[in-house]
Every structure is written in structure tokens, then in C-alpha cells.
């Protein structure tokens, strides 16, 4: 019997990171998770929309969550930022009944919907650890990746209340998945630090230093590849790493893949891509 979730692909999986959506769907099929699309769901705002108008972001997210409530399912997402933004807004609404009332009045007036606040927000990582179980997961591993791998969580997912039983600052959830996948998890200091992604357009130099530090930190500890739980940070850590290296002088040359890609490969999906990735891992480096 598959576990069913209302599926929110995150902010950019429809556009600049379709590999996240593709691999999320494949990984979930392999893990016996049924994803129910929410074609009416909007972007979560990623905290950026909230900087313009927080009430607007909360109301839009209340609408998305009410769609999941109508389906009678919790939301699953591969994006750490989306998980955190939806979670924070939901917690804010549940903690403040007058805010919930005002948001629901707006929702009802504009859409006819009402949010009860009965759902939960889950990241794929959390579902693997807490619902599937690491032992069951290890049984589904078909293509182990026996390399020193650096998990990257970022700060969004690692918040008290959001990531269940994991330690917010000294996590072990992704390490467990890596071990189950035959890899050697690398422990490095900055694995929950921010890569500065929200500031990539406006504070590029600071973000380059932040992301360079994370990549260099992982590489120094022996990582051959990084696995990111955050779609947006994944983009920065991968796309900007050459520029980050030139800007800081640090060695940042490290393949970065998304957690969904990693799980999809482990569970036997996209063998050609995995072969290409292994080649890249073998080639890239010093």
C-alpha cells in the first residue's frame, strides 16, 4: 500500500531545475510513495515574496495548503526552502487564531476556500527516515554509490519542529541515507550553514564567499560529491562554484547533485545519468 502525499515540486522545479521534479517522481515510485499533483499550487514565495508583503505570502500559502487539505493529504516536497516556508506560515497561522481568521476571511472572499490547518509539511528526506524507515530504504537500494559524500542541508530544513527527530545543528538523517546507499557520509562544519541563496542577485560577493566556504569545507574533509536537500542552494552551489573559487581562491571544485537525484539513482532509476555522474565524479577533482 503506497504512502500518498499531495505533491509540491518547489519553486523552480518547473523551470530551471526540472531534474528535481523528474527524479523526485522516479524516486517516489521506487519507494512506494504516491504523489498526487496539486496543479493549482503556487510557488511558496521562498521568503522573498514575504519581504514585499508577508500577509500576501501567508494567504497564498494558505490557499496551497487548503488544496492539500481538500485532498486529505499531507504535503511532500523535495525543496527545503518550500518545506520551511510552508511550515513557518502554517505554524504562524496555527499559533495565532486571529491571523488564521483574517487569512481565512480573505481566502473565502477571493477563492471560496478555507484552511483548517490540519495538514503537515514533509520533505522527502523526513519521509524516508520517519515513514519508510532506513532499514526498508536500504532494501530498495539497487545501485549503491560507494563514495565519500557530503550531505548539505542548509538552514531552512534544519528548524526545530520541521525536521522531526533530527538534530537541527548536528543532523544525521541524510548521513543515514548515505550509509544505506553504500556511501561514506562526510561530516563537515558548514553542512547546515546558509549558502546565501536568497541574496545571490543582490549580495553576490557575500554569497560567493558563503558557498565557497561550504564547498571547500566539504572538499577538505574528503568529499567527492555533495548532495543538497535544497533545490535553490543546489543551484548556487553548482552553477556559481567556479566563480566562487575565483572570487575566494578556495578549492570549490565538487560535483553537487540534488537529494532527489541521489535517491533516484540509488533506487535504480536513470542508470545512464548515474554512469555519467560517476564519470564526472571520477574526473572532477584534484
Amino acid at each position: 500500500m503506497p504512502i500518498r502525499f499531495a505533491y509540491h515540486p518547489g519553486n523552480v522545479a518547473h523551470s530551471s531545475a526540472p531534474e528535481v521534479d523528474e527524479t523526485m517522481r522516479a524516486a517516489c515510485r521506487s519507494l512506494d510513495i504516491e504523489l498526487i499533483d496539486m496543479p493549482g499550487a503556487t510557488s511558496c514565495g521562498a521568503g522573498i515574496l514575504g519581504q514585499a508583503n508577508r500577509r500576501l505570502q501567508i494567504t497564498l500559502n494558505a490557499r496551497t495548503m487548503s488544496i492539500a487539505e481538500d485532498l486529505g493529504m499531507d504535503i511532500i516536497t523535495p525543496c527545503a526552502t518550500t518545506a520551511a516556508t510552508l511550515f513557518e506560515d502554517l505554524m504562524m497561522l496555527k499559533a495565532d487564531s486571529s491571523l488564521m481568521g483574517e487569512v481565512n476571511r480573505t481566502l473565502e472572499k477571493t477563492t471560496g476556500r478555507v484552511l483548517e490547518g490540519s495538514i503537515k509539511i514533509r520533505h522527502l528526506l523526513q519521509v524516508i527516515l520517519e515513514e519508510i524507515g532506513i532499514e526498508n530504504f536500504s532494501k530498495k537500494v539497487k545501485n549503491p554509490i560507494p563514495s565519500p559524500l557530503a550531505p548539505y542541508y542548509g538552514p531552512n530544513l534544519q528548524q526545530v519542529g520541521l525536521i522531526g527527530g533530527d538534530d537541527v545543528f548536528d543532523p544525521w538523517y541524510m548521513e543515514s541515507v548515505i550509509e544505506a546507499g553504500g556511501g561514506d557520509p562526510i561530516r563537515y562544519a558548514s553542512r547546515t550553514s546558509s549558502a546565501g541563496t536568497p541574496g545571490i542577485f543582490s549580495e553576490e560577493q557575500t554569497v560567493l564567499r558563503q558557498s565557497a566556504n561550504i564547498l571547500s569545507d566539504a572538499k577538505t574533509m574528503g568529499a567527492r560529491m555533495m548532495i543538497s536537500a535544497c533545490t535553490l542552494s543546489h543551484g548556487v552551489l553548482d552553477i556559481y562554484q567556479g566563480k566562487a573559487s575565483r572570487s575566494t581562491g578556495l578549492n570549490t571544485n565538487l560535483p553537487v547533485i540534488h537529494f532527489c537525484e541521489y535517491v533516484a539513482f540509488l533506487t535504480g532509476n536513470f542508470p545512464t545519468r548515474l554512469a555519467m555522474l560517476k564519470t564526472r565524479v571520477a574526473v572532477i577533482g584534484d
Binding site: 523551470s15 541563496t197 552553477i239
Partner: protein, 657 residues
């Protein structure tokens, strides 16, 4: 005086020096040194903790070698016991003792005592009646405290006000404690007068079945010091009661003496059975039981503080080290076994004291923000963090990484220089300028400016509870931007900006400061601040509001403003963010060109290490520049279902976009 015995204390480093000096006596093992069995009277083979004597011929033959070994021990753990005059025939004496006092015979006896005490303490009426005669309340307070402690002695403490109490009822009691002060020139307190009159009358009942003790409070500056207590003590004795613990007369500083009296009186009264008989054989057992095997400590108010000790935990402490002279940094690792209740600060002190005197950290009171360090990524006050609470539930040894606070120059090891924050605070001109406003006159006649309670609470919530220096470090970007003022300074500015007492002109100045390139807009990510326990969501939310205000003040100009504006615009357009539009609108042609030359665009197009995606989309990006930057970006987003709802929400809440 010759040698009688030799033994090894803890701390042997197994250097073999003793074995080389006296191989016939010492044998170095893997982790310590043993005294050989054939030289000892008891024939044992261990460190000789029992200090068993050496055989006569051994002493005669190897004394010099043993003394040489002791002198040569680099850690001084070889202890030589010299013989006394009456130890000449020690061999025979010891043998006799061993035979006559078999250890096994003692065990059942102890067990029986404990069983007997338990039965005694659970049998019959165990009430302890504590009477207070009090004028100022001190005696009443003490009586109340002692009643709470009575449970530790197997008693049920009941406090009685002497006022209106029936003397006959008092006479029927088996255990009585009296706490009474003296008023005026040796007079009873008001509430004790009537009972005292009844007790001192000729018709007072016989009290021979009562065990009692008196605590008397007084003042030595009065002639009749503690007279009331003395009167009660004497009268109860006259009426036949049994004084089981002597009266204690306290001066005005009574706490310590009162506590001592309570320990003795409660012990003795506990040993009284429900017939009023004192069981002297149980007194020591009761005392030990109440002491809890010395595992508890006396509180200042006379209460017994609960035992808060924890088992030892295996800890791997990885401490960041920096030597300012050599300009080298690294990590030192200590594998320790530390009691779980020890705080991190106490652990650092212990390491500094016993292992490495050069270890540098900021010491201080438990809540001193200057002591803060980073423990496994979490900003922590080490004085309030017990070792056992730092475990994340993983099996095996606790692995702690200790680092200095980020965002500051490191002086040495875990010590940082807070000068950077001071400089930024000066730079931000954090003064307050009040506006002219209405005041009200208080009952005392002074003028005060009132504030709405909800506004005051909101301001208070935004204030940083753990110190500016800690909040400054909660940002993940502070260490990577020299010019950024940091969250602490920005929060301070924002609190002043939202304070209704701030003048309009000053609020405008703060808007300009906050909208500057070095203020809150320089913070790349607020999420790390919100998740730090010493900052929290309230602070993150306040800083987010400050950002919104700064963006509005700047008219959503600049890259940050455009990023937010176009993000909102694309969401309204389709319900989804359009990163193509964002890149084009925020970076502009020059920014896009910069990405092209820096390799960012090429990396996006080729999907350097990312996998998957359709190449046709990459080609699309090339044929329709500048739109379409990104590995697989869409030129136009497909709208979400029921998109009109999204537009309706936008129009209802914010029609700017």
C-alpha cells in the same frame, strides 16, 4: 624507622622505573603497577590499596630499592608506609584480625538494620507537630520550612499556630517541636501567650508521653535573651516531656543555627516511636538516611537541594585552537569521561586546569553573553549547557566541536574580540531621539510618557534577550561581509524605528540607515538567525519587517528591491516564479554579460554536474537571449490551475504588482 608497607596510588603512567629499581617488589601492568604477592603478608597481587604489610625478610633485603623506586617515580604514586613501634609483630596480628572479624559476618547485620529502620519508619503514627510562636513571622517561616524537611526523616510535619491551640490536645502528642521567638523584655509573642498561660498553669496536663525539642529565637541585645524558648523548654520538662534534642538559642542571624537544630531535632524526633519512646539504636541510621549518603547539599533556606548529579559520559571534545604568535590554527581533541551534569564551561575549566593551561576561553557567570561559543553549529552559553543535554541521541561517544563565535576576530582559541561590533554600533549611530508627546502625571507627582501596552509588548518581543554580541554571530553571512552592520545593529535600529517615542526626523534617518547597502539588505539569509535558540523566530520576523521597510523606503530600486518586486510580479502573473524574468530584470544586460564571461551561464547551460534535462531547452536559451538563462528555464510559465484565485488574492491584499 623501617618500612612497613608500600602501595600505589592512582595515576601510574606505567613508565617501568619502579620495576627497574625493585623488580622483586613491583610489577608494572598495562595500566598501573602492582605490589607482588610473594612480598606481601596478605599474598594479594594488586596496588595494595589495603596497605598490607611487607614480609620481614623483604623489608630487610629490599628497603633501599623500594625507597629508590619511590624517589624515582616521576608521578609520585608510590607511597611508602613507615613502621610504628608496635608493628613489630604485625604478621600475627593481622592474621588474627582477619580470622576474628570475617567480612561476611557484617553484611547481614547491616542489612537487618536497614530493614528494621524501614519497618520502624513505616509503622504507626509518624506525625511531627511543629508549633510556632511568632511576632514578626520568622518563627512561622522556619516552622514551615522544617515541616517540609520532615519527610526526609520519615515524618509527616504538621505546623500549628500556638494561638488558640488546646493544651490538652498538645499533651496527647508524641513528637513536638517548638519554634518560638521572644518579644520585648522576655515576653511571649502575642500568638503564644494564651497557650503559654495554659501550659504554665497548675492545671496543665501531664506530658510524660511527649518527646520534644525547642528552637528559640531572640536578640542578644536584650537582657532576657530567648526567654520565651527557655520558658517552654523548662516547662515541658517539668510536665514530664522528654527533651530528645537540646534547645538552641538563636541570635538575629538565626539561619545557620536553626538549620543545625533542625537536623538534630528531626533526627531525634524521628527515632521516637508512636508511644513516645526514643530508639537510640536507630539514630545513626536515620541520620545517614536523611543525609542521603552525602549526595545532597544544604540549600540557603534550609531545604535539602535534590541530587542533580548524572552518570559519566564519554565525550570527544574537539576545540578550535589559534595561536596568535605563530598565526596557526587547528583543532585539539580530548577524549574525556565527564559527569553528565557538568556544564561545558566547567568542562573547559577542568581541561585548562588539568591538561592544557594554555587553552583560552572567556570565563564568566553562566548567563554572560561574552562566554558564548559555537557548539556543533549551535551558538551556546557554555555556563548553562550541561554535557548530557548536548547529545543528539546518537550511539557512542558524544562528539562536540567547539568553535569561537563567528563574525569577530579571534584573539586566541575560543576568545574573540568584540571590538568589531562596537565599531559597527558606533557607525550606525544608535542613539534615540524622542519626539514631543503628551505626558501624564503619576501619583507621585512626576511626569511620565505613557505607552500602549500592546506596543510596549511588541517592542519588548523584538528586543534581543541574550546580548548584542550573541545575535551578531547568529547571521551566517556576517563572517563573509566586512561592511555588513550585522543583525544586532539592524535590530537595534529597527526597534528604535518602531518605537512610538522616536521623533519623526529620527525615524526618517533610521529609514535611510536601514535602506543603506551595509544594513539589513546586506543580510543574505534570515533563516539561520531564526533557528538559533539564542535568537529565534521573533527576531527573524522583526528583521524581516525591517527588510520590508528598507525596500519600501528605497522604492524597490536596486538589485534587492528588483528581486523582490519581480518575484512578486511573476507570481501574480502565473502563480509560479519565473527565474528567466528575475535574471533579466534584476541583473540587467551588464549582469547577464558578467555571468556570460564568468562561466556562470556556460555552467547553467551545460548543467555541469547536475543531471538530466532536455538539451532542447538549453538551445532555446541560446536562440532567445537574454531570456532563457538557466539550464532548462521556461520562457513563459504555464499558469497554475484556478489562476484567477491567485490574482484575486493579490488584488485583495496588495494591488501594487
Amino acid at each position: 624507622m623501617g618500612i612497613f608497607s608500600v602501595y600505589i596510588e592512582e595515576g601510574c603512567i606505567t613508565c617501568d622505573a619502579c620495576e627497574e629499581a625493585a623488580p622483586e617488589v613491583f610489577e608494572v601492568t598495562e595500566d598501573t603497577c602492582f605490589i607482588k604477592s610473594d612480598v606481601r603478608l596478605d599474598g594479594g597481587f594488586d596496588r595494595n590499596d589495603s596497605k598490607s604489610g611487607l614480609k620481614t625478610e623483604v623489608v630487610q633485603t629490599y628497603s633501599d630499592d623500594i625507597l629508590d623506586a619511590a624517589d624515582g617515580c616521576p608521578v609520585d604514586v608510590i607511597i611508602v608506609v613507615e613502621a610504628k613501634a608496635d608493628e613489630a609483630e604485625v604478621e600475627e596480628t593481622i592474621t588474627e584480625v582477619e580470622v576474628e572479624v570475617p567480612i561476611a559476618a557484617e553484611a547481614p547485620q547491616v542489612s537487618m538494620e536497614i530493614e528494621g529502620l524501614d519497618a520502624f519508619l513505616s509503622a504507626g503514627d509518624r506525625t511531627l507537630n511543629i508549633f510556632f510562636g511568632s511576632q514578626s513571622g520568622n518563627s512561622e517561616q522556619l516552622a514551615s520550612n522544617f515541616a517540609k524537611r520532615a519527610g526526609d526523616y520519615g515524618l509527616e510535619g504538621i505546623v500549628h499556630d500556638m494561638d488558640g491551640f488546646d493544651i490538652k490536645k498538645m499533651a496527647s502528642m508524641r513528637r513536638v517541636a517548638i519554634v518560638c521567638s521572644t518579644w520585648g523584655e522576655g515576653e511571649m509573642p502575642d500568638n503564644a501567650e494564651a497557650l503559654w498561660q495554659a501550659a504554665s498553669s497548675k492545671d496543665a496536663p501531664d506530658m510524660s508521653g511527649m518527646a520534644f525539642s525547642v528552637l528559640s529565637l531572640g536578640d542578644t541585645s536584650y537582657e532576657l535573651f530567648c526567654q520565651s524558648g527557655k520558658d517552654w523548654d523548662g516547662r515541658l520538662e517539668q510536665l514530664g516531656a522528654n527533651r530528645v534534642a537540646p534547645r538552641v538559642d538563636c541570635d538575629v542571624d538565626y539561619e545557620a543555627m536553626a538549620t543545625e537544630w533542625a537536623q538534630e531535632a528531626l533526627t531525634m524526633l524521628s527515632a521516637v516511636d508512636d508511644s513516645g519512646n526514643l530508639h537510640e539504636e536507630l539514630i545513626e541510621s536515620i541520620r545517614e538516611m536523611a543525609d542521603g549518603g552525602a549526595s545532597v547539599a544544604d540549600g540557603e533556606d534550609g531545604f535539602i537541594v535534590p541530587d542533580l548529579t548524572s552518570d559519566e559520559i564519554e565525550v570527544q571534545l574537539n576545540v578550535f585552537r589559534y595561536d596568535p604568535h605563530e598565526k596557526t590554527s587547528g583543532t585539539d581533541t580530548w577524549l574525556c569521561s565527564l559527569p553528565g551534569h557538568l556544564t561545558l564551561l566547567e568542562s573547559l575549566r577542568a581541561i585548562q586546569r588539568t591538561h592544557d593551561g594554555s587553552l583560552c576561553f572567556t570565563d564568566g557567570s553562566p548567563h554572560d553573553p561574552n562566554t558564548a561559543i559555537v557548539v556543533n553549529g549551535r551558538i551556546t552559553l557554555p555556563g548553562v549547557s550541561r554535557i548530557e543535554t548536548l547529545s543528539n541521541g546518537r550511539p557512542g561517544a558524544l562528539n562536540l566541536h567547539l568553535e569561537p563565535l563567528p563574525g569577530y576576530d579571534v584573539i586566541r582559541d575560543l576568545c574573540v574580540d568584540f571590538g568589531a561590533l562596537t565599531k559597527k554600533r558606533e557607525e550606525a549611530s544608535l542613539w534615540h531621539v524622542s519626539r514631543t508627546r503628551e505626558a501624564i502625571r503619576s501619583e507621585q507627582g512626576t511626569l511620565i510618557g505613557p505607552m500602549d501596552p500592546s506596543e510596549a509588548i511588541a517592542l519588548h518581543k523584538m528586543s534581543d534577550p541574550f546580548g548584542a554580541q550573541v545575535l551578531h554571530s547568529c547571521s551566517d553571512s556576517i563572517a563573509y561581509s566586512q561592511s555588513y552592520l550585522g543583525p544586532s545593529v539592524c535590530l537595534d535600529l529597527w526597534v528604535k524605528r518602531t518605537d512610538p517615542r522616536t521623533s519623526t526626523k529620527r525615524a526618517e534617518e533610521i529609514d535611510t540607515l536601514l535602506g543603506g547597502a551595509n544594513a539589513i539588505l546586506a543580510e543574505t539569509d534570515l533563516a539561520p538567525i531564526g533557528r538559533q535558540p539564542l535568537a529565534g523566530k521573533e527576531i527573524q520576523s522583526a528583521l524581516s519587517d525591517a527588510k520590508t521597510r528598507a525596500l519600501e523606503h528605497n522604492g524597490y530600486n536596486g538589485r534587492h528591491g528588483k528581486h523582490v518586486w519581480w518575484y512578486a510580479w511573476t507570481m501574480k502573473s502565473s502563480g509560479r516564479v519565473n527565474d528567466t524574468v528575475l535574471y533579466r530584470q534584476v541583473l540587467g544586460p551588464l549582469g547577464l554579460l558578467s555571468n556570460l564571461t564568468s562561466g556562470v551561464t556556460a555552467r547553467m547551460l551545460t548543467g555541469f554536474t547536475r543531471t538530466g534535462g532536455k538539451m532542447v531547452n538549453d538551445i532555446l536559451a541560446l536562440v532567445a537571449p537574454p531570456a532563457g538563462i538557466g539550464k532548462m528555464p521556461r520562457q513563459f510559465n504555464k499558469r497554475v490551475d484556478d489562476h484567477y484565485e491567485v490574482v484575486s488574492i493579490f488584488n485583495s491584499l496588495d494591488s501594487r504588482f
